[in-house]
């Protein structure tokens, strides 16, 4: 792969927790605007990988380079500043605030300008920007609803919309469809992927639903015991013998259950 054109370069990344290897010799490159799916069984190291890129976990060794800059072990908020954002497996929104205020806070923090923070939250400019975001993410109907009362799917959308108001170059989505009902899943992903492709944001997303993965990604990275066992376009990856053995299971049994183990690591 051409290194000069990649936005994210990961080299020899390792992570172990008290003897348990959670990431082993991970090497990969992500191109600008690319949509990559990360698959793997429970505890395969998917979320650990995502968490290392956004600075939530520090790698034991190896390097992560973003847009030509070494970001290994960066603080999450600094990652945000340089254009690496993420959404969460469990929506992380401001539960007692309205959808609009959630987005307004995100927008006001996105332009890192202390002086603008002193202006009213609902200043004309911010509200206008907020309305555009709500339009793009189909959140306009919920604008005055308190986030804690939203349906899972809508809250997920809000979570993702908040992560991208700063127009990041790379977005990591940790199980965007977990906890979302089957009939909402495709709508949600349509909205998100279309909006992100329009914006040219590269997306790395962890997903268990192979229908979703197949439909939206350019490339699949399959994890098993902390290692990447396959990194290829979906039509090849999903036929790979190792992927079938370790990820999809015999007879392509598609796993739909959420990743409990990794979920608890989040909390």
């Amino acid at each position: 792969m051409d290194n000069a054109s990649s936005i994210l370069r990961v080299r020899d990344l390792n992570k172990s927790f008290a003897g348990i290897v959670a990431a082993k010799n991970i090497n990969t490159d992500i191109k600008p605007g690319e949509v990559v799916g990360i698959i793997g069984a429970n505890g395969a190291g998917k979320t650990v990988f995502v968490n290392m890129i956004t600075g939530y976990l520090k790698p034991s060794s190896g390097s992560i380079e973003f847009a030509g800059r070494n970001i290994t072990g960066i603080e999450p908020r600094d990652a945000t500043h340089i254009g690496v954002c993420r959404s969460f497996q469990i929506s992380q929104v401001f539960m007692s605030m309205t959808v609009m205020n959630n987005l307004l806070v995100a927008i006001s923090l996105a332009n890192h300008d202390t002086r603008s923070l002193l202006r009213p939250l609902n200043s004309m400019r911010r509200v206008r920007e907020c309305e555009q975001v709500m339009e793009r993410y189909k959140l306009s109907d919920y604008r005055d609803q308190v986030a804690g009362t939203l349906a899972q799917g809508v809250r997920k959308l809000l979570d993702i919309a908040m992560a991208v108001v700063s127009k990041p170059k790379l977005l990591l989505l940790d199980e965007p469809t977990s906890g979302v009902s089957v009939d909402e899943k495709f709508d949600l992903m349509d909205i998100v992927v279309n909006a992100l492709r329009e914006q040219g944001t590269a997306v790395l997303f962890v997903e268990h639903d192979m229908d979703i993965v197949q439909r939206y990604v350019d490339r699949i990275m399959a994890f098993y015991q902390g290692e990447i066992i396959c990194d290829a376009p979906p039509e090849l990856a999903l036929r790979d013998s190792k992927v079938i053995e370790y990820v999809l299971g015999p007879g392509h049994a598609i796993q739909l259950v959420g990743d409990r183990l990794e979920e608890s690591r989040h909390a």
């Binding site: 999450p76 908020r77 401001f94 205020n101 002193l118 911010r126 908040m162 992560a163």
Partner: protein, 320 residues
């Protein structure tokens, strides 16, 4: 939603109107009522400082630290330099409290919940301990504070001081209100709701909390300075002891977090509640005060201010 409607634009108007009314009514009040109102409003300013932290999800059981620092700054300034001017006194109170708040903020910003509350209490009791043991700082008796002058003018009544207290209270209320409406002010609720999200939006939660803590210390310190001037005396038991911190938390609950005006209403109500309770039952006044708090918690969980919210909401509904 209620809070939003109330505080949208009317709050500033309300504060100005209340200030004017109080300024006029103050001219006709008997001395003891005037005094009580001054004590109440000064405490209200301290509670406004607590409200700032409360909205961030933090409760300090040791804000008497800043109340005391403000009060002692006024007394010590006079003792060592003879200054009695209100502006210099206030500056001393505000600066002393802010500096201490800034330093302790580095420690406290790492704690939440009960740990934050108890650590605050511990710091305040350290100051209490130092004060009662130190002769130079007045020991258990404290100092008296001479009458406050205003730019060299020595007023004959307490009314000018009263006017200054309501003026500063009104300015602080408007300032905090504008702050709450700003993006930075909304970070209070945001931090309370979800720290992880705030960090991932690119803002340091530690910095946000530190900033609010210093702001809160400054307000409470100023309040302590005003209280010392109104009382004409400072001493550890009525300024720095844990019971003072308790009173401030009590008033916070009594007032409710709904508005920047609430702490002042709650604090004045508390002052007169205590006066009348003492009058009524000199040996069991705490029972009346405590019972009132229980009643508030049961029937008005959002404090006295929720009564106001009902009235304003009904008005809103009638308007359509």
């Amino acid at each position: 939603m209620i809070v939003k409607t109330l505080s949208s634009d009317h709050t500033i108007g309300w504060v100005v109107a209340s200030f004017t009314t109080l300024a006029i009514v103050g001219l006709f009040l008997p001395n003891w009522v005037l005094n009580g109102t001054m004590f109440g409003l000064a405490r209200g300013l301290a509670v406004l400082g607590l409200l700032l932290l409360w909205r961030t999800g933090l409760i300090s059981f040791g804000h008497a630290l800043y109340f005391g620092i403000g009060a002692y700054a006024v007394a010590l300034l006079e003792k060592y330099t003879g200054v009695s001017d209100i502006f210099l006194r206030l500056a001393a109170a505000l600066i002393a409290a802010s500096v201490v708040g800034f330093i302790l903020g580095f420690v406290l910003r790492n704690y939440r919940g009960i740990f934050f509350a108890m650590l605050s209490l511990a710091f305040s009791m350290v100051l209490y301990g130092v004060l009662i043991k130190s002769e130079a700082l007045g020991s258990t008796d404290g100092f008296s504070v001479s009458q406050t002058t205003i730019l060299g003018w020595q007023p004959e009544t307490k009314y000018p001081l009263f006017l200054m207290i309501i003026l500063i209270g009104a300015l602080a209320a408007v300032g905090v209100h504008v702050y709450f409406r700003s993006a930075l002010g909304h970070l209070t609720t945001a931090v309370r709701d979800n720290e992880i999200r705030v960090e991932y939006l690119g803002y340091s939660v530690a910095r946000a909390i530190h900033l609010k803590y210093v702001f809160s210390a400054a307000l409470t310190g100023t309040a302590g300075g005003l209280f010392a001037m109104a009382l004409g005396q400072v001493d550890p038991d009525s300024m720095v002891n844990w019971t003072v911190s308790g009173e401030l938390v009590f008033i916070s609950v009594l007032s409710g977090p709904g508005s920047v005006a609430a702490p002042f209403i709650g604090a004045v109500a508390f002052e007169f509640l205590r006066t009348f309770a003492f009058e009524l039952a000199p040996h069991a006044w705490q029972l009346i005060v405590g019972g009132t708090l229980l009643g508030i918690i049961f029937f008005l969980p959002r404090g006295l201010w929720s009564l106001m919210e009902h009235v304003l909401m009904r008005k809103e509904r009638r308007r359509g």
